[in-house]
């Protein structure tokens, strides 16, 4: 990141430097990367929270000793309560971290061995994750644990428990005796409670999982589709290009939000379906980008040389063209992510996004009441602000990356 942002400083100084004082130069050198660093940190924090949220915000204690007929029994309700989806999330996150580590560790190995090493270890890693995922999905059964552990502690039937930092589950309501609906922030509930007496902070943290999950998976689908179509159009050009561009134009002519709503009306709105829908409607931009890049790169000397020396098609495509053409596409994926997060929350706000017990930032905004009559602003402020910060962070990082790879747009 720092290398990338430092690069245009050199090229910018060559082209018509605007008069600038020492202070301004210093401030910019300091501020710009700092802002970007903050954004990257924020995104990383949201990602970590979205993966580890079952350990952060839940009503189940990590460990508790219960008095039973057989004496003192130690239980681990939080770990027993993890769902299949939680395990799958951990597995996926672990796999991605392992892949990144493999890439990093093999960077120093010499070229021929590195290629083989990377392929073998990445394939092992992915297949191990898939096997583990299938095992978990088939063997693990979600258990519903309705015990109120706070009540157990209070009534003295349990001694010694360690609770999570935010001891409220996303669907956990206050007990019926307590009138705790639409509460203002207090020590008991740091951000107050919503209309069903559920903890707003806990729901907000859980919602980051929905947002990040839908954002990343949908953009992964969109990127894959866009890269395939764009590469085909750009490399083969001619008829392939003309046909492909007509298809891209047709899809782009339908306003995105209307297309998404059409898909939702037809296919329903489970979380997985929304991921797929956002992916299927969002690939055209990537395809356009990669096509333009490929059309440019095709003419470059090293591609001509590679083709003239008889390199096979897959070698030219995947070894020479794709690594060089992919950068702008990946940069625009940052904006795509921001867009996907926005659309997901808008859908949930309208009531046609993820289904109600699952928290989503948009859904929480909607749950803050009808703004024209009864408006609980303390419920609407935090989720909206977090949503704004997330979208802004992705946009700023995208902007910085784009400036970094394209010296012309640098001021």
């Amino acid at each position: 990141m720092t290398n990338l942002t430092a690069m245009p400083e050199l090229s910018a100084s060559a082209a018509l430097p605007p008069p600038r004082g020492y202070w301004a130069v210093a401030m910019r050198k300091l501020l710009r990367p700092l802002l970007v660093k903050l954004c990257v940190l924020y995104i990383a924090a949201v990602l970590v929270i979205s993966v580890l949220v079952p350990f952060i915000a839940t009503g189940k204690p990590y460990i508790i000793s219960l008095h039973t007929a057989h004496g003192l029994v130690t239980r681990y309700p939080l770990f027993a309560d993890l769902t299949t989806r939680d395990y799958l999330t951990f597995l996926t996150a672990g796999m991605l971290i392992a892949l990144a580590a493999i890439w990093r560790l093999t960077a120093r190995v010499d070229l021929l061995r590195r290629r083989k090493l990377r392929w073998v270890s990445a394939l092992t890693c992915i297949s191990a994750t898939v096997i583990a995922g299938v095992l978990v999905a088939s063997l693990h059964h979600n258990q519903f644990d309705g015990t109120n552990y706070r009540h157990l502690m209070k009534s003295g039937r349990a001694t010694g428990a360690i609770f999570a930092p935010i001891p409220w589950g996303y669907a956990q309501m206050e007990p019926l005796g307590r009138q705790a609906v639409n509460e203002m922030p207090s020590w008991r509930h740091w951000l107050g409670t919503d209309r069903s007496g559920r903890d707003v902070l806990s729901r907000m943290l859980w919602a980051s999982r929905v947002a990040m999950g839908i954002g990343f998976v949908s953009q992964f689908i969109a990127l894959s589709l866009g890269i395939i179509v764009g590469a085909l159009m750009g490399y083969f050009s001619g008829v392939c290009d003309i046909l492909g561009m007509r298809i891209v134009e047709m899809v782009e002519a339908i306003p995105t939000f209307f297309l998404i709503l059409t898909f939702i009306a037809v296919f329903g709105r489970s979380t997985l379906m929304i991921m797929i829908i956002l992916g299927v409607t969002g690939w055209t931009g990537y395809a356009r980008f990669l096509r333009a890049e490929f059309l440019r790169i095709r003419q470059l000397d090293y591609i001509v040389a590679a083709r003239a020396s008889g390199a096979p098609l897959h070698s030219v495509l995947f070894r020479h063209m794709l690594p060089n053409g992919l950068t702008p596409v990946l940069v625009s994926a940052s904006f795509g992510l921001a867009g996907a997060v926005t659309i997901e929350s808008s859908l949930s706000y309208l009531g046609i996004g993820v289904r109600p017990p699952t928290p989503s930032w948009g859904g929480m905004l909607n749950a803050a009441g009808n703004p024209a009559t009864v408006f609980h602003w303390f419920q609407a402020l935090p989720p909206g602000f977090v949503l704004f910060l997330t979208v802004l962070a992705f946009n700023l990082v995208g902007e910085a990356l784009r400036d970094a790879i394209d010296p012309r747009s640098f001021s």
Binding site: A253, F258, L259, V266
Partner: protein, 336 residues
């Protein structure tokens, strides 16, 4: 000129046909549409309401199948659908029990007016801002405008909309703006100016919500193209001739920087139409976006496919107009 326009319009038809095909294909993939038969017929008819629900369900399934109850081939369904569209019949809404054409004609003007007003506001703010940013490139003005427009672009409409409504149109805070609709209830007693003022008062918040996010992209493009043209040889020549800076900017740079401004008219409209779904829902405006939302909520497929078609037709027409304007401004440009 005329031949260009004609060729451009002819080029539009394949896209239009392909687009109808895509919409038709999506809607036709709805589960339970292609075959007849009822899963709702047993044990669900106790109340009047569930009878109605069943009727609607059957209507949803059967709205494209022949009267004899036999499914007809998909290709023929498509041709019939196109044929009906050509004759101006967009089908009948299941939810509203009204012809879709009538619904669309009722609601299209509302949405288009609000969107066009927002577009004008976006241009009025983004173009001068972009020009200023280009002139003071790298200075504080540029930085603030760039960052500010990006921040505005990142503000989610749902949050801003509900906050504005919650704080400015709410009896428990400030009750300055109306919270719903486009007109007050007593419009018949108003004079013309009162009517216009009332309308402006009602659309202030919706238009604000629609337009604030649009500055960033346009301003960035305007800034980029002004910066490009400020470095060109002809600008240097004009300056060297001793022309005043304002003349250089207005006559030499602006005329050459108009192309991106024109292009973006066509690109902003689809985004605004999409945004109007949310804005109209928040501010309870009976426009096309709200109709789309209601239709999606009720799975009213005839309305959905017609609205997708109408909005994409609007988009295509705006692309067409952009291309023609482009050709007028710069006759060297031809379609690729």
């Amino acid at each position: 000129m005329l031949s260009y326009i004609i060729r451009r319009i002819l080029l539009m038809f394949p896209t239009l046909i392909g687009m109808t095909f895509i919409i038709f294909a999506i809607v036709r993939m709805a589960p339970g549409l292609t075959t007849s038969g009822g899963m709702y017929t047993a044990g669900m008819l106790q109340s009047h309401q569930s009878q109605l629900a069943q009727q609607r369900f059957m209507a949803r399934r059967l709205h494209l199948i022949t009267r004899n109850g036999k499914p007809i081939p998909i290709a023929i369904q498509y041709v019939r659908w196109i044929n009906r569209i050509i004759h101006g019949d967009l089908g009948t809404s299941i939810e509203f029990s009204e012809p879709v054409t009538k619904l669309v004609l009722q609601r299209l003007p509302v949405t288009l007016t609000i969107n066009l007003i927002s577009m004008v506001i976006i241009y009025l703010i983004a173009v001068p801002g972009g020009v200023l940013a280009a002139i003071y490139r790298g200075r504080l003005v540029d930085r603030i405008f760039g960052l500010g427009s990006l921040v505005l672009y990142s503000l989610p409409i749902i949050w801003v909309g509900s906050m504005l409504l919650g704080f400015l149109a709410n009896p428990s805070f400030l009750n300055v703006f109306p919270s719903a609709g486009l007109h007050s209830t007593n419009t018949s007693k108003m004079s013309y100016f009162q009517f216009v003022f009332d309308y402006a008062w009602h659309i202030t918040l919706p238009v604000l919500c629609l337009s604030y996010g649009g500055f960033a992209y346009l301003a960035k493009q305007v800034r980029g193209s002004y910066i490009d043209n400020l470095q060109q040889d002809f600008t240097r020549t004009a300056r060297a001739k001793g022309l005043p800076p304002s003349t250089v900017l207005l006559r030499h740079v602006t005329q050459n920087s108009m192309l991106p401004m024109i292009t973006i008219v066509g690109m902003t409209l689809p985004g605004l139409l999409g945004g109007s779904v949310i804005v109209e829902q928040i501010f309870s405006i009976q426009g096309m976006g709200r109709l789309m939302f209601e239709a999606t909520y009720a799975r009213d497929l005839p309305v959905i496919q017609s609205l997708a078609l109408v909005t994409s037709a609007i988009t295509l027409v705006s692309y067409l107009m952009v291309d023609i304007a482009y050709h007028m401004v710069d006759p060297r440009v031809t379609y690729d």
